[in-house]
C-alpha cells in the first residue's frame, strides 16, 4: 500500500485504525507491546525545572536539500528546548494530512522525525492524526510540542546581554532559507546549498557545560540572525555591532543572496544558534563549540555595546557602519 494516497476515509474509524497501525505508529517505532493508546501520556520521574515548548511546521515544499518536514518538526522543537538549557525528554506529534499525500511519503517524513528524536533521547509519547480534504492543506502540516529537563539552572535570557559581551554564531548562516528557495525553484538557477537543519541539543549542552555563564542562547530561525540579534538588543537594551568580515557564509549562499538581493543575516537557519557570552569566556566558548562537528565553523561575529539609537549595526567590509533591520515578514514565507 506504499504508493496509495491517504484518503478522507483515513481520518476516522477503521480507516484511521489502518493509517495508524500500518503507517504512523510503525514509522514512529511505537509498538503494541508498549501498551494500548490512552487519552494522555503519563510522564513519571520528572522533578525540578521543566522546559515546555510547541511549534507548528508548514514548510513548502515538504522535502528540501538536507531534510524534510519530519526532520524539521523534530529539530525545531528539540532546539527550542535546547536553547533554554533543557535536555529533550518527550515530544508530542500532531499530523494534519491533506488527502492525496502518499503513504510512502508520510512514512519517510515520520521516519526522519523519529530518527532525530531517538538521537536526542526524546520519546514520542502522544500525538494526533487528522485528514483534511484535498486542496485544504499543503500535503502535510506537523505540530510538535516538547518537554525537556533542566538539570543545571543556567541563567539564560534574551534580556541578559551586557556591554562588553561577545556574540558567537554556531556555523555558516543562511543555508536553510536558500535550500528552501532552491527546492521551490525560485532561485532562477540550480543550487547545491544544503539546509543546516539539525538538532542542536548536544552542541548547546557542550557550550553550556564549558561556559555556564553564557548569557543568551537563541536559535536563529525565521528572520535569521538579524531577527534574533535585533530581539536580543532590544530586550537587553544594548546595541550589537557585528563585523561583516567575520560572519561565516558559504559561497553558494553568498552567491544566491547577491543574486536575489538578500542579506544572509536575514535568511532563516534551522540548525544554527547565536550565543552571547562574557568577553572573558569567548575563547573558551569557541574552543568548546569547535570541538563539536556541528560547531566546527562557529565564529565570533560581534560585540555588545551600550545602547545607541539602533539595536543592530554592522561594520562593513570597507569599515563603514550601517543598520541591520529586522527583516520584513514577507521576505521568505513558509520556510518552516
Amino acid at each position: 500500500m506504499n504508493d496509495e494516497p491517504v484518503r478522507l476515509l483515513h481520518g476516522s474509524g477503521q480507516g484511521l485504525q489502518l493509517l495508524l497501525n500500518q503507517v504512523v505508529l510503525p514509522s514512529l517505532h511505537i509498538h503494541e507491546k508498549d501498551g494500548p493508546l490512552e487519552d494522555a501520556a503519563l510522564l513519571t520521574g520528572l522533578t525540578g525545572t521543566l522546559a515546555f515548548t510547541t511549534d507548528s511546521f508548514v514548510v513548502n515544499p515538504l522535502r528540501f536539500n538536507g531534510g524534510d518536514i519530519g526532520k524539521l518538526a523534530a529539530c525545531g522543537t528539540i532546539n527550542d528546548l535546547a536553547m533554554m538549557g533543557a535536555k529533550p525528554h518527550a515530544l508530542s506529534v500532531s499530523l494534519i494530512i491533506e488527502e492525496g499525500l502518499l503513504f510512502s511519503d508520510l512514512k519517510s517524513f515520520l521516519n526522519s522525525l523519529r530518527q532525530e528524536c531517538e538521537t536526542a533521547g526524546a520519546a514520542i509519547v502522544c500525538g494526533d492524526t487528522k485528514v483534511v480534504d484535498a486542496g485544504k492543506g499543503d500535503g502535510l502540516y506537523i505540530n510538535t510540542s516538547g518537554i525537556g529537563r533542566v538539570s543545571t539552572p543556567y541563567n539564560l535570557s534574551a534580556a541578559h546581554a551586557r556591554p562588553g559581551d561577545c556574540v558567537i554564531v554556531s556555523g555558516p548562516i543562511g543555508q536553510h532559507g536558500i535550500a528552501i528557495l532552491a527546492a521551490r525553484q525560485q532561485l532562477g538557477f540550480s543550487s547545491t546549498v544544503v539546509s543546516d537543519c539539525a538538532a542542536l541539543d548536544k552542541l548547546a549542552l557542550t557550550l553550556l557545560e564549558a561556559v555556564p555563564e553564557t548569557r543568551v542562547l537563541r536559535d536563529a530561525t525565521r528572520g535569521g540572525c538579524a531577527a534574533v540579534l535585533n530581539e536580543i538588543a532590544d530586550a537587553s537594551n544594548v546595541t550589537i555591532t557585528l563585523d561583516q568580515a567575520a560572519i561565516p557564509v558559504q559561497p553558494g549562499v553568498a552567491a544566491a543572496c547577491d543574486y536575489l538581493g538578500l542579506d544572509p543575516l536575514q535568511v532563516a537557519n534551522e540548525g544554527r544558534f547565536v550565543a552571547v557570552v562574557p568577553e572573558a569566556s569567548a575563547g573558551k566558548a569557541l574552543g568548546a563549540l569547535k570541538r563539536h562537528p556541528l560547531g566546527k565553523d562557529s565564529a565570533l561575529i560581534g560585540q555588545v555595546e551600550l545602547r545607541e539609537r539602533f539595536g543592530l549595526l554592522i561594520q562593513t567590509e570597507i569599515g563603514g557602519k550601517r543598520i541591520v533591520e529586522m527583516p520584513s515578514g514577507l521576505l521568505l514565507p513558509r520556510i518552516c
Binding site: 557564509v249 559561497p251 547577491d258 562593513t316 570597507i318 569599515g319 550601517r322
Partner: protein, 361 residues
C-alpha cells in the same frame, strides 16, 4: 568562506579609501552622482558615505525605473488590471507605487487580475495558455530591461499572439544625463555611470552627449568597483580632464551589446517622455514602431505625472537634496507608510537611505 574576495578585499578597500582621502585634500566640494539605483543600494549597504572625506558627496540620481514612471502609466496599469478578460503583468517592484489614485497592490486585494513576473519572456506562455485573455505588460525599465521586452515582442510576432500587449514606459539613460548636466541647479562634478546599462549601450554614446562635460566612470557594483569609480572621477578632477573611463571592463565592452541595441531599434523608436518628478526629457522614452502597434497598450489617461503632496522625490532624483532633506523622510514617510515612489521602490533613494543610512544623522 569569503564573499567573492577579489572585489571585496578589505585591505584593498582601505588602500583605495586612503588614496581617495589624499586626493580630496586638493579639491573643493565634489558632488558625484551615482545614476543607478543598484549603486545607491550598495553604497548604503557598505556604509560608504561615512567613510568618504566631508567634501566628497555622493548624490543619488534618477536611476530607479519605478521611481520615474509617470503616474498616468500606473493609473493606466490599474485600469487595465480592472478590465474584464485582462491580466496586468508587472515586475514586483511596481505594485506598491501609487499613481493618482490606488496602487496595483490595492486593486489586487480587491480582485483585479495582476501577475508578477520575473522576466517578460514568461508572458509568452501566459498569452499562449490563455488566448481569450489580453495580457498587458507594464514595460518599465532602462536599457537593461528593454532588450528582453523587444525579444518578447519578436517571439509574440512570430507566434502570432494577438493577446499580448505592452504598456510601454521604458526610459533611456543618456538623454536624462544630458538633461541633468544642462540643469543649472544640479552642480554635478562627476558621474558614476551604471555598469549594467553601459553593458548594453557601450562607452562611446556618453562621449556624444554635448552637455556631459564632467568626468564619468563606468562602474560595477562591488565595494572595490565603487571605490575605484570614485577614485577615477577624483583623479580626472585633479587633472582637469573630463573623460569617460570604463572601470568595469570585465562586463562592459567599449561597443556595448550591438545585438541588443539592434533588437531595441527594430521594435521601438525614441519619443519625448515624462519622468515623474522631473518633467519631460526630449527623446528619453520609447514608443512601438508603427509596424508593431498591434502590440501596443496605450496610456489611457493624461497629465497625472505629479507627485503626492509634500513629496520631494523630484529634487531627490535630480540630486538637489538627499532624502533626509525631505521634511517627511522617516517621520510621515517610511517603508511601512511610503508617500512617494522613492520610498516605495526597494531601489529608490529614500528606501535605501531609510534602510541603511539613518545612522548618519
Amino acid at each position: 568562506m569569503d564573499r567573492r574576495p577579489q572585489f571585496k578585499d578589505p585591505a584593498l578597500a582601505k588602500a583605495l579609501l586612503t588614496k581617495i582621502g589624499m586626493l580630496a585634500k586638493d579639491l573643493p566640494e565634489v558632488r558625484i552622482m551615482e545614476v543607478c539605483g543598484t549603486h545607491t543600494m550598495e553604497i548604503g549597504r557598505l556604509g560608504l558615505r561615512q567613510r568618504l572625506p566631508d567634501n566628497i558627496r555622493l548624490l543619488s540620481g534618477p536611476g530607479c525605473p519605478v521611481c520615474v514612471t509617470p503616474g498616468e502609466v500606473i493609473d493606466s496599469a490599474v485600469s487595465y488590471a480592472q478590465m474584464p478578460n485582462h491580466v496586468l503583468a508587472t515586475f514586483g517592484d511596481m505594485i506598491r507605487v501609487p499613481g493618482s489614485g490606488q496602487s496595483l497592490e490595492q486593486v489586487k486585494a480587491n480582485g483585479a487580475a495582476i501577475a508578477i513576473v520575473a522576466s517578460p519572456l514568461q508572458l509568452i506562455k501566459m498569452a499562449e495558455e490563455r488566448p481569450e485573455t489580453t495580457i498587458v505588460f507594464a514595460a518599465v525599465g532602462f536599457e537593461t530591461t528593454i532588450p528582453a521586452v523587444a525579444r518578447t515582442i519578436e517571439i509574440a510576432a512570430e507566434k502570432k499572439l494577438p493577446n499580448l500587449k505592452m504598456l510601454v514606459a521604458h526610459r533611456l539613460l543618456p538623454p536624462a544625463l544630458s538633461a541633468l548636466c544642462g540643469d543649472a541647479d544640479t552642480h554635478i562634478s562627476g558621474f558614476l555611470l551604471p555598469g549594467h546599462v553601459s553593458a548594453i549601450i557601450g562607452e562611446e554614446v556618453y562621449r556624444t552627449i554635448d552637455e556631459l562635460n564632467v568626468p564619468g566612470a563606468i562602474t560595477g557594483f562591488e565595494a572595490l568597483d565603487i571605490l575605484g569609480g570614485i577614485l577615477s572621477v577624483l583623479e580626472m578632477l585633479i587633472n582637469q580632464t573630463a573623460l569617460i573611463i570604463n572601470m568595469y571592463p570585465r562586463v562592459v565592452r567599449p561597443e556595448g551589446n550591438p545585438h541588443a541595441r539592434a533588437l531595441i531599434h527594430k521594435f521601438f523608436t525614441p519619443i519625448d517622455a515624462a519622468w515623474r518628478g522631473i518633467g519631460i526629457i526630449p527623446q528619453s522614452g520609447l514608443a512601438l514602431r508603427d509596424e508593431f502597434k498591434a502590440f501596443d497598450a496605450p496610456v489611457l489617461t493624461q497629465g497625472s505625472s505629479t507627485l503626492p503632496k509634500g513629496c520631494s522625490c523630484g529634487k531627490v532624483l535630480k540630486g538637489l537634496i538627499t532624502p533626509s532633506g525631505c521634511s517627511l523622510f522617516g517621520s510621515a514617510c517610511t517603508p511601512q507608510t511610503p508617500i512617494g515612489p522613492c520610498m516605495v521602490s526597494s531601489e529608490g533613494s529614500c528606501a535605501a537611505y531609510y534602510r541603511y543610512e539613518r545612522i548618519n544623522r
